[in-house]
Amino acid sequence: MDHNTLEEHEHRDDVGSKLGMWIFIFTELLLFGGLFLVYAVLRAKYFQDFHVAAHQLNVFIGSINTLALLVSSMTIAMSITAIQKNQKKVALILLSITFFLAFIFLVNKYFEWGLKIHHHLYPGSDLVLTLTHGEILFFGLYFFMTGLHALHIIIGMSLIGVVIFKVKNDKIRSDNFQLLENAGLYWHLVDLIWIFLFPLLYLIT
């Protein structure tokens, strides 16, 4: 048979894949939206406790991480421009910086969580269970929300890793960079969610 080569036939629709990515990002926002709703309800119920518990978080580490994400969002956006201008080297450097900053974020998170766990401030610990209800829930939310966000950082890093690889092999070029653009969109989402998490957890004390 001759017309059985659908698999090899390349169907490309950049607008379509961008649309798909936007819809996916929307679902991710709704996923976190559910958590923000729970946060809002519980915070309204235990205003005072949340206030007290939030003092335990380290604003300094949080700020560094915010900065890291903001800069990385910028560098990945710049890498798209670089690819469009055919500057493969520059794009690779910018993407590597993005990847590295994401890594820094995780390292910081590791120390931050480690310290909390060291002080027995984790969900279900004997210490936490002696706290007031609101404080228990605050720490629960803190670990759950930042944990889910960290998972998204890891997914984003894998995506950026793939993109770096493809730029290197000229699979992503100035005439075919939709994957890079989608990775960028995803990374902005990860950044955006953190921009909400940071004030909710660290700053409102």
């Binding site: 659908l6 929307f26 559910g34 007031t132 609101g134």
Partner: protein, 536 residues
């Protein structure tokens, strides 16, 4: 038959020769039609498993008193029955099977927008189903929460809740990706000249459904993740003993699960809207009204979740608002029913098997819908909440609606999908048994519910014996009919007479190509100039 040639034309999607042959060729194919068949096989099997569990429950309920197993086993059965039927059968059902197969063809496209993502969604579906089935066997006994996983019980019971919840999460992910794929397909891949209002109505219903899949599923996703976290980490979001709020769980759960009912029923309405014009040889009455009412149902459907919680503690204002909005959703649904009936008026009606299922769909859906309105009324709801009345209502809507539409669709499109005809007489007989058994099974449940028989009970007082007995007989009649139907279809898919291109004189695009369709659907470029329904 016998004397007829028994070979299909070569070059159809069924004998596609990709990189791999045989079973691997199916498991690696990104062709939307093959993926549809993959879904169809899984869903048919899961449906039979789910129906068997239902039958076993009815066996226990045949007589008052304990017959074959105790309450805990019964709890496991209705939970897993619910999970299989809801998350593995009726939510993906129509859109994953017939949406996948016919959406691209009906809009004149060669495939969906993201064929590999499409195959990936099926694998996710399979993984989720495997976890769900595992939940029945592994760990400390089958989950016993019901498919709704209400907190705080789902957090405290030591049965196998985590795999069940995880399964629902994974299945939801598959649903999101399918919906996303369809939305982009409809936006980007319609044939030249196919404006939005020249698109057939089944794709319209799939479009409305896809938005619900994308916008509602993430909420249940995060809710289920929270249940898992609660169980593993003792966080306490929903556990009052740690300060959490169980009512919050119910809100989050129903914000998804009410719209999920429309994920089931909207494509069903789309199927019915395709079948009626074909078998009446009449143009659809009120094309735009049907298209817009799909979108209206999808939209208002988000706002009525509270009608599941009238008795759980809500402000009176909220209860009245949710009750009112529930009545509002009935309007677009009724618009559809009126349009179907009007389309039939003065048509030259051909009563074939798909049309029988279609008529029974309208009948059953109306009973389900009207009893839904009574459930939406506050005073009645307080009386029949969590009784068999509810069980009867949702089986009429979901099984009588989505299920019968599925049966209608499989008979309607069977010749196109497999290139062969089924035995019509046998199909009609099976329909009669299924329809009779269905009503015998579920109608008594309305009465039982009004008398006060609570749902999810493995035993009952002697007062309910007659109703339960009739209902159990109905279950066995129904299952017999189902087996007959499946037998007819499975046998015909291999041995039936060869089907012509357009056995019912349909007008939409799928009837203009060979049965079964070739690999890329169309060998020419499609240009649309007229409305999809164009009977003289």
């Amino acid at each position: 038959m016998g004397s007829k040639p028994v070979a299909l034309p070569t070059g159809s999607y069924l004998d596609q020769q990709g990189k791999y042959k045989g079973i691997l060729g199916w498991l690696t194919s990104t062709d939307h039609k093959r993926i549809a068949i993959l879904y169809l096989s899984c869903i048919a099997i899961f449906f039979l498993v789910g129906a068997t569990l239902g039958g076993i429950m009815k066996l226990e309920l045949l007589k008052a008193g304990q017959q074959y197993f105790g309450p805990q086993t019964y709890n496991g059965f209705f939970t897993v029955h619910g999970i299989i039927m809801i998350f593995m059968v009726v939510i993906p059902g129509l859109s994953a099977v017939f949406g996948n197969f016919f959406l691209p063809i009906m809009i004149g496209a060669k495939d969906v927008a993201f064929p590999r993502l499409n195959l990936f969604s099926w694998y996710i579906y399979l993984a989720g189903s495997a976890i769900a089935i595992y939940s029945q066997f592994g760990g400390h006994g089958a989950p016993d929460t019901g498919w709704t996983f209400y907190a705080p019980y789902s957090i405290n019971t030591n049965t196998n809740v985590i795999p069940a919840v995880l399964a629902a999460f994974v299945l939801g992910f598959s649903s999101i990706l399918t919906g996303l794929n369809f939305i982009v397909t409809i936006h980007r891949m319609r044939a030249k000249g196919m404006t939005w209002f020249k698109m057939p109505l089944f794709p319209w219903s799939i479009y409305a459904t896809a938005w619900i899949q994308v916008l509602a599923t993430p909420i249940i996703g995060i809710t289920l993740l929270m249940v898992i976290a609660e169980r593993t980490l003792r966080i306490g979001f929903f556990d009052p003993s740690l300060g959490g709020d169980p009512i919050l769980y119910q809100h989050l759960f129903w914000i998804y699960s009410h719209p999920a009912v429309y994920i089931m029923i909207l494509p069903a309405m789309g199927v019915i809207t395709e079948i009626i014009p074909t078998f009446c040889q009449r143009n659809v009455f009120g094309y735009k009204a049907i298209a817009f009412s799909s979108m209206a149902i999808a939209g208002v459907g988000y706002l009525v979740w509270g009608h599941h919680m009238f008795t759980s503690g809500m402000s009176n204002f909220a209860r009245i608002a949710f009750s009112f909005l529930t009545f509002v959703v009935a309007i677009p649904s009724a618009i559809k029913v009126f349009n179907w009936i009007t389309t039939m008026y003065k048509g030259s009606i051909l009563v074939r098997t798909p049309f029988l299922y279609t008529l029974s769909f309208i009948f059953l859906f109306m009973i389900g819908g009207l009893t839904g309105l009574t459930l939406g009324s506050l005073a009645i709801n307080v009386h029949v909440h969590d009784t068999y009345y509810v069980v009867a209502h949702f089986h009429y809507i979901v099984f009588g609606g989505m299920g019968f539409a599925f049966f209608a669709a499989i008979h309607y499109w069977f010749p196109k999908m497999f290139g062969r005809m089924y035995k019509e007489r046998l199909g009609n007989i099976a329909w009669g048994i299924v329809f009779g058994g269905f009503n015998l099974l579920y109608f008594p449940m309305f009465v039982l519910g009004l008398q006060g028989m609570p749902r999810r009970y493995f035993d009952y007082l002697p007062e309910y014996s007659t109703g339960q007995f009739i209902s159990s007989i109905g279950a066995f009649v129904l299952i017999t009919g189902l087996i007959l139907m499946v037998y007819n279809l499975v046998r015909s898919a291999r041995k039936g007479e060869l089907a012509p291109m357009n056995p019912w004189n349909g007008q939409t695009l799928e009837w203009t190509i060979a049965s079964p369709p070739p690999l890329e659907n169309f060998d020419r470029e499609i240009v649309i100039t007229e409305s999809p329904y164009n009977y003289k």
